[in-house]
Amino acid sequence: NMEVDRVMLNKWRQWNVDMTTWRSIGSGPIMEF
């Protein structure tokens, strides 16, 4: 099972979570650069 997990995990290596729609304790607008 752990080997299967490794293969699955490697698929996500270049993936970044998109937090723009999340509730946040940050303040001010989301700025794009």
Partner: protein, 372 residues
């Protein structure tokens, strides 16, 4: 003899009081943030908040210390990682901030845009703090100039839905979005310790004990943090699906998982929360990195570092008094208080020689010492 006992008790009491005072001192910087060069934090640490009102004066600096958190990156932007990375400076200067009427600091996006514009055609050094182990690093971002006729139109009407810094971007999109967020927000993570319900939601979703950390939840429901928040959310989602964002320290990646919470409102795993369960540093092994460069097939490069070894919190291992910063300022005041007391009346020369010896890190080789 009675005087000695009395002084001994007094010294103990003083020591305990000092320790308690320091542990409650909100001005002590969290060990996780101490990798950031002090000059990058000066603008926030010397915030006019202190001067505004007494009520705000006791605000915990560790809760308010903020940076430009990366909340989204383009798939081609490899230098930054959303959730973990915060921009805390440009070219070793702090993020430009302005203060509102209440004395709170906010980023000066007009000035930040100007910095990017000024570096068109060059690289800009961006100072990054990462929540992975509380590490600090520099990234050099290439700023590519836009064609002059391709500049953004600056709207004369203020549009709330599309925030603008008011300054036209003269550079091509850098591929990331930021929001001014307290650094502490990235430590609200839940470490999977073990799976305790066979075929329960955690096990079915493939959560891996010790390696996995729940860093987020659908809609950002974990944003405010708290030891029982995850438990409360899971309980409230009984009989429903719940999307969790999970970081794996071995693969150094985040993945979304969907767990189906049963009628009992349990996830089926034990989690750890707090300083010892923060996300550890990722160390890259050079041999594996080289191998990765040769092979097109991606292999797991990072080698996980145990949180205990990656970061030893002074607050848990020892009283906060003997931290490096404090020991520099008040050298030998607190820890040596008892020794001084017992050494009272002894030959001072032997004590001085002993302290001189302790300052030497390692004895020099015999040949060198003879030549010196």
């Amino acid at each position: 003899m009675f005087r000695i006992a009395k002084n001994l008790v007094r010294t103990f009491e003083q020591s305990v009081q000092d320790t308690l005072a320091l542990s409650q001192d909100s001005s002590n910087l969290d060990a996780f943030f101490q990798s950031i060069p002090p000059n990058l934090l000066s603008a926030q640490l010397e915030s006019p908040v202190d001067a505004v009102s007494e009520g705000v004066k006791h605000t915990n600096v560790n809760e308010t210390l903020s940076g430009l958190r990366i909340v989204w990156v383009d798939e081609m932007q490899f230098q930054l990682q959303s959730f973990f990375d915060y921009i805390v400076g440009f070219n070793d200067d702090p993020v430009p901030v302005v203060s509102n009427q209440h004395g709170f600091s906010y980023p000066d996006y007009r000035r930040i845009t100007s910095i990017f514009n000024e570096h068109c055609g060059r690289t800009l050094k961006v100072n990054i703090w990462s929540a992975k182990g509380g590490t600090f690093r520099d990234e050099y971002i290439s700023i590519i100039s836009k064609e002059s006729d391709d500049l953004d139109d600056v709207s004369l009407n203020h549009d709330e839905r599309r925030p603008s810094s008011g300054e036209a971007h003269q550079f091509q999109a850098l591929g990331f979005k930021v929001q001014w967020t307290p650094l502490i927000a990235s430590t609200f993570t839940y470490h999977i310790l073990n799976v305790n319900i066979p075929d329960g939601p955690a096990q079915s979703a493939g959560l891996i004990p010790d390696e996995d950390y729940i860093i987020g939840c659908q809609d950002g429901l974990l944003a405010t943090g708290g030891e029982t928040l995850l438990q409360d959310i899971v309980r409230s989602r009984a009989n429903y699906d719940l999307v969790l964002y999970v970081y794996n320290k071995v693969s150094d990646c985040v993945r979304p998982i969907t767990v189906h919470i049963g009628p009992d409102g349990r996830l089926g795993c034990n989690v750890g929360y707090g300083f010892l369960h923060r996300i550890p540093t990722v160390k890259h092994c050079p041999q594996q990195a080289q191998q990765q460069g040769q092979d097109d097939n991606p292999v797991p490069v990072p080698v996980p570092v145990e949180s205990e070894t990656a970061f030893v919190p002074s607050a848990f291992t020892a009283p906060p008094v003997p931290t490096k910063k404090k020991s520099k300022n008040k050298k030998g005041t607190q820890p040596l208080a008892m020794d001084d007391y017992f050494n009272e009346g002894r030959d001072k020369s032997s004590t001085a020689a002993k302290s001189a010896e302790s300052d030497i890190l390692a004895p020099p080789p015999q040949k060198q010492s003879s030549s010196d």
